[in-house]
């Protein structure tokens, strides 16, 4: 992964951003809103994952988009503008086709945002966020993240050792050996925890993340945009319907303001990324 500016923000900021954009992506079905969210998500995933994301998009997302878009009019027959009839006599409507495309874009937008979540909200950030709610849970998570790679490595070692005896060992037997290994070692781990005072009352949860002014400003920025978007939704500036015929708000000061706010919110990490890239490009050219 390329080093990304947004990932250096406090985990709470990362979480607030993704919760709001994914929420809006699922509930704001206005074509312009869908377009904004899709472009920002796709742009951002390309920035942080590069070629890999592009390949994934072309091989997996594009067929899914086409498939979902094609399936809707075959089963959804609402809408007033009939384009053709299916062999079974059901109509194919223009509204159903357009709704299919919109729904497909919504789906892959959400998937793309989740791909970004995966890259930005890494294990340690998740552990931290859980720890805010339940410190014990966060320690368990952290210990599991330590244990899983060890368990997999040991499985490989045991399987190789058995192979070196010149025999095939059933996976079940290997699992049973792994379990005795894990239990045996857990005793020593427990001792090591006890030796470092685990179990004393009033345990605290430490994290290396610091909440700075920059994080507060980012949260404020999100809050302002979210307020504008919600106000717009309440005032009907986002009004749009697919059935029975397509009708919706396209222009008007309120609508434009809402779209601007939505764009500012979704493009925030992309904007940071580009700004960072430009900064380094400029510095490099000066040198």
């Amino acid at each position: 992964m390329h080093r990304d500016a947004f990932s250096t923000y406090h985990p709470l900021v990362n979480l607030a951003f993704f919760v709001s954009v994914i929420g809006f992506a699922m509930f704001l079905l206005h074509p312009v809103a869908l377009g904004i969210s899709f472009v920002c998500a796709a742009g951002y995933v390309l920035c942080i994952k590069g070629k890999k994301a592009l390949r994934f998009g072309l091989i997996f997302m594009l067929p899914m988009l086409l498939f979902t878009a094609a399936m809707n009019p075959l089963f959804n027959h609402q809408g007033v503008t009939i384009v053709a009839f299916l062999p079974n006599g059901n109509p194919v409507t223009r509204e159903a086709i357009i709704y299919g495309i919109a729904a497909a874009i919504m789906l892959i937008t959400v998937i793309t945002w989740f791909a970004c979540v995966n890259a930005i909200l890494t294990g340690d950030k998740m552990v931290y966020l859980f720890g805010r709610v339940a410190p014990a849970l966060s320690l368990i998570l952290s210990m599991s993240l330590r244990f899983v790679p060890r368990f997999i490595a040991q499985a490989k070692i045991i399987s190789n050792a058995q192979k070196a005896l010149g025999r095939k060992t059933s996976p079940f037997k290997i699992l049973s050996m792994l379990v005795s290994w894990a239990l045996e070692n857990a005793i020593e781990t427990a001792d090591s925890m006890k030796a470092r005072g685990y179990g004393l009352p009033n345990r605290t949860a430490f994290s290396i993340f610091t909440f700075t002014q920059r994080d507060a400003l980012a949260l404020l920025f999100f809050a302002l945009n979210i307020a504008v978007i919600l106000a717009g939704v309440a005032a009907g500036a986002y009004r749009f319907r697919y059935f029975p015929d397509i009708q919706g708000e396209w222009t008007g000061a309120g609508t434009l303001a809402v779209f601007t706010a939505y764009f500012l919110l979704c493009a925030f990490p992309l904007f940071l990324h580009v700004k960072e890239a430009l900064y380094w490009k400029r510095t490099a050219s000066v040198i």
Partner: protein, 522 residues
């Protein structure tokens, strides 16, 4: 001021007749660097665990243990956790969390310190131990030496008065072990922390220590400076001391190689005749021009490895970490396919893995061995050969390291190999177990089995191998008979050879030097 004062401590494990610790009297002053020696099963770990209340073993106990003047069991739990640092033998099992920074903070979280203070202490400790570069890494990506340093750091953050370490180098290669000792010396010198550790490798530990304690059958048989250590604990002494006591010399005993050389110059040494090349024997395993890498875009691990292992000989592959020794074994075994090159094996080939527990399936040693064969005569023969007669009813996990190693070896031998591969067979074993293990290997070699072992243990290879090969950077730099190999190397060689360099040729083991000296005095 005394860190510990132990008086009349006697301890017996439940359901055992003989006490594990017998009337121990011991005083450790603040700032002492103390090495606890003795054979496995002599009570070293039991004594160490008595020094920390949270992990004290269960059993009947008499006597008194004072820490900074207070009985250890009366210490406030918070003080006991913070002031007494304990590092146990297994490195992997002591790391609890997934991130380096979190592991460093673990003890402080337990103590309930606020975040800013934890931030400061972890940062300080990371600086002191040189961990900044990997402060944010995942713990499972660290090397063995880094992990050991992390464990040390996670204790130092709590500002302990004493560090207790149970065989801290048993899972490290020689370079990492040396780094650890340097670090311990620094902690002792610059922070005044009392250090007490058990150790099988005296060469590095003795020069650092101001006190040696020898424990045998639960009794302290020696307690004084390293220099005055008596000759009756010969097996655990560093090479210069072994040689000095070996000829029964008098005067000041040398402890380091440097002192040993100085002392040797005052002695008369008879030349040692070079050993004749042994007659050529039939090869059992031939590797020719092996190239290998684990992944498409990864660098080559092996770049043209060629070597031959002969029937009835012990061949040792030496070299640093990550030079491809273990990979070569795995390829010879057929666990991976070489990208290029040819392997010829005359006869059945099996491997004893580095960790013997990876072979254990049964609930007792007997059951585990039975699983390999139905032939009872053969089983009995192997049990006798590996000296397991008295261990048959014990659960394999309850055996000591050396006994586990022998059980695993028995299991491997039941497949009747003609070629036996061993990966680090002596790691963590004490001198007596090593000798025991070497005798078994020799008896196997005498029946015509070709033995190939990968090892960091220079002294072991010098003593018991027939041929040695040096790995570097994915290929074998040199291969020759053990004597020629160590006599020609400058750095990668035994203590005895380094001590006699330029004074007498062809000395490889302490016994060689002792013989040369005795002939000289005749």
């Amino acid at each position: 001021m005394e860190t510990y004062r132990i008086s009349n401590l006697t301890f017996t494990y439940p359901n055992r007749a003989a006490p594990a610790l017998d009337n121990i009297n011991l005083t450790l002053a603040q700032g002492d660097f103390c090495v606890l020696c003795g054979h496995s099963g002599g009570g070293k770990t039991t004594l160490l665990r008595h020094l920390k209340p949270a992990i004290m073993p269960h059993g009947t106990r008499e006597g008194e243990i004072l820490f900074n003047g207070t009985p250890v069991n009366d210490l406030a739990p918070r003080d006991a956790a913070a002031k007494i640092g304990y590092v146990s033998q297994n490195i992997e099992n002591q790391i609890v969390t997934d991130k380096v920074w979190h592991e460093l903070a673990f003890g402080l979280e337990s103590l309930g310190l606020p975040t800013p203070q934890i931030r400061l202490r972890t940062a300080e400790t990371a600086c002191f131990l040189g961990m900044q570069a990997w402060f944010e890494r995942d713990t499972h990506t660290l090397s063995g030496g880094q992990k050991q340093r992390l464990i040390l750091g996670s204790i130092l953050t709590m500002h302990p008065d004493v560090l207790i370490l149970d065989e801290p180098t048993s899972q490290l290669d020689p370079i990492a072990a040396e780094e650890l000792f340097t670090l311990l010396a620094k902690i002792n010198r610059e922070l005044g922390v009392t250090v007490i550790l058990t150790e099988h490798r005296p060469e590095e530990a003795f020069p650092l220590a101001n006190k040696i304690i020898v424990l045998d059958n639960g009794c302290i048989i020696y307690e004084d400076t390293p220099r005055n250590a008596p000759r009756n604990i010969l097996g655990i002494l560093p090479t210069p001391m072994r040689i000095f006591h070996g000829i029964g010399a008098s005067g000041t005993c040398p402890v380091t190689i440097k002192e040993g050389r100085k002392w040797l110059k005052t002695q008369t040494l008879k030349p040692i005749p070079p050993v004749q090349e042994p007659p050529p024997v039939a090869p059992a395993l031939i590797l020719r021009d092996i190239y290998f890498k684990y992944e498409k875009n990864a660098p080559d691990v092996l770049t043209g490895v060629s070597f031959t292992a002969n029937k009835g000989e012990i061949t040792a592959l030496l070299g640093g970490n990550g030079t491809g020794k273990s990979t070569t074994l795995a390829i010879a075994m057929g666990l991976y396919k070489p990208r290029r090159g040819k392997i010829t094996a005359h006869g059945k080939i099996t491997m004893l893995p580095q960790n013997p527990t990876t072979l254990f399936i049964g609930k007792t040693v007997q059951e585990d061995l039975h699983e390999m064969t139905q032939n009872l005569d053969e089983l009995e023969h192997i049990v006798r050969q590996c000296r397991l007669q008295h261990l048959l009813d014990i659960h394999p996990y309850d055996l000591s390291g050396g006994e586990q190693q022998r059980t695993a070896l028995a299991k491997v031998l039941l497949t009747r190999p003609q070629i036996l591969l061993l990966d680090e067979p002596t790691q963590g074993l004490d001198t007596a177990y090593k000798q025991n293990f070497a005798e078994i290997l020799r008896s196997l070699a005498n029946t015509g089995v070709a033995i190939v072992l990968v090892s960091h243990d220079i002294e072991f290879c010098a003593e018991y191998a027939d041929r040695c090969a040096l790995f570097f950077n994915g290929s074998i730099i040199t291969q020759s008979t053990t004597r020629a190999f160590f006599a020609n190397n400058h750095f990668y060689t035994t203590g005895a050879n380094r001590m006699t360099r330029g004074l007498v040729e062809n000395a490889v083991t302490a016994t060689d030097v002792i013989n040369a000296l005795q002939k000289g005095s005749l």
